[in-house]
């Protein structure tokens, strides 16, 4: 497949950048377009009846999932998806709102709990090449994520190795929904591959409770979307504690993990409780040599959609506790603006931190991969 080339002035001078959005979701509106990128043996599953099987939970967004997102003009009776066309996303969102670069994070958060491991790996591979050819190569405002399915870590590692040197890819992406806590050793080869290639690992909430996932809360399945969405950050809490206690960052000290769409106000709680318990309970995991909060602050990054809008004073206190001057990055979660405008969410961030959160922290994390 030959990609169209579209000339565009490259914005690669860090000093001139206004915003980097680390969480933008392209929508696959036609699986037939992905099928050519899928290995031949499973390609036929992508062209029939709406595409490959996807794990789902039982919930549906209440309200307009796209909020204030600019929508493309209606095409007859159908309303085109606001994230279906890269040119629309570029012009109606990035250019209109002053965003220089967007990191694409697909829209397949439940792929990580799809029961068929080989199908999940085929989807990841097909979507990765589709993303590169239709979004990243034609438009230099987009960077890609290497989507992997952790069900079969060997295939996930092979996919990372296949694409790690592609200049369009800046990180590895996995749904945070998983069969097990992400610190467990079966996942370590994925982290080894990330570390080997210097690629951050982004996790994204959304598949919790679907497919092979455990219930999305620790006490069982929620009844409603409202209950589900309000409680899913607890999955990040569990994964963080698991990854630290199982020694992931002792084994892979250069690994960095981005937590998409989780908020931040719960982080100080987990750091404090975890540190306190470590003083007495460290003997169970003697490889955890530093207070857990030291690993959390060094290895985890958070994103601003949806940042808690608690007022400037309270926000400033939490930003200080999580060392947001290094660890927080702007994200829009485009086009899913159900909770509000992503720029309104960062309006109370102190001026002294604004540029770091909008631009500099992402540049520091992703480095030359964003500038190339």
């Amino acid at each position: 497949m030959v990609a169209p080339t579209i000339a565009r002035e490259r914005v690669r001078d860090p000093a001139k950048m206004r915003a980097i959005d680390v969480d933008v979701h392209p929508q696959i509106t036609d699986w037939g377009a992905v099928a050519p990128f899928v290995p031949e043996g499973l390609r036929h599953r992508f062209t029939r009846r709406g595409g490959p099987p996807m794990a789902r939970n039982g919930f549906k967004v209440v309200g307009d999932p796209f909020g204030d997102v600019s929508k493309p003009p209606a095409n007859g009776n159908s309303q085109p998806h606001p994230a279906g066309d890269p040119r629309w996303v570029k012009e109606a969102y990035l250019d209109a709102r002053g965003v220089d670069l967007a990191i694409l994070t697909t829209n397949l958060t439940s792929l990580s709990v799809q029961p068929n491991a080989d199908m999940a790996a085929a989807v990841a591979r097909g979507v990765n090449d589709w993303t590169l050819e239709t979004w990243v190569r034609p438009f230099d405002c987009f960077k890609g994520s290497i989507l992997v399915a952790p069900q079969d870590p060997a295939q996930a590692v092979a996919e990372i190795d296949r694409l790690a040197h592609d200049p369009g890819m800046v990180q590895v992406l996995m749904g945070s929904a998983s069969e097990s806590p992400l610190g467990r050793r079966q996942y370590h080869p994925i982290y080894a591959a990330c570390a080997r290639h210097g690629l951050p690992l982004a996790l994204h909430l959304g598949g919790e409770g679907a497919g092979m996932s455990p219930p999305s809360t620790a006490v069982g399945h929620p009844s409603t979307y409202f209950e589900w969405y309000g409680s899913i950050p607890q999955n990040y809490m569990a994964h963080i504690v698991s990854m630290v206690t199982e020694g992931v960052f002792e084994k892979y000290p250069t690994l960095r993990v981005v937590l998409c769409e989780g908020g931040i106000f719960w982080l100080p709680h987990i750091m404090w409780r975890f540190d306190k318990n470590w003083k007495a309970q460290r003997s169970e995991t003697p490889w955890v040599k530093e207070p857990p909060s030291a690993y959390i602050l060094r290895h985890f990054y958070s994103t601003t959609y949806p940042l808690e809008m608690a007022g400037a004073t309270e926000l400033g206190q939490v930003l200080a506790m999580i060392e947001a001057e290094r660890t927080l990055m702007f994200s829009s979660n485009y086009p899913n603006w159900l909770l509000g405008d992503p720029f309104a969410m960062v309006a109370d961030i102190p001026e002294s931190l604004h540029r770091r959160i909008m631009v500099d922290n992402a540049l520091a994390l992703y480095g030359d991969r964003l500038l190339g």
Partner: protein, 118 residues
Amino acid sequence: MERHVVGRAEEIPPGGRKIVRIAGRGEIGVFNVDGAFYALKNTCAHQGSRVCLGKIVGTALPSDVYEYRYGREGEILRCPWHEWEYDIKTGESVFDPKVRVTTYPVEVVDGDVTVVLD
């Protein structure tokens, strides 16, 4: 400098301890680790419990991931309240040397175990 005789050396064999109250200074525990004597104030750095009543144990040594090495048997004092672990020889907690139980020098003079108080 104040010196306080805790007892005769043979009263505190290796692995043993003796806790004494010294007027105006509170309680002090004297421990024998492999024939050498160490004195610790009987106050945990955490919440002030009587740490010298804790078990004398070893500890899980810092290790590689998924490796387990137990060592320093007889050198670690584990607080009975919340199980913070201290190095009997230095008073330092195993998780942070800045978190420590107060220690005192000990001398054995003519068989008398003597704590030196400043």
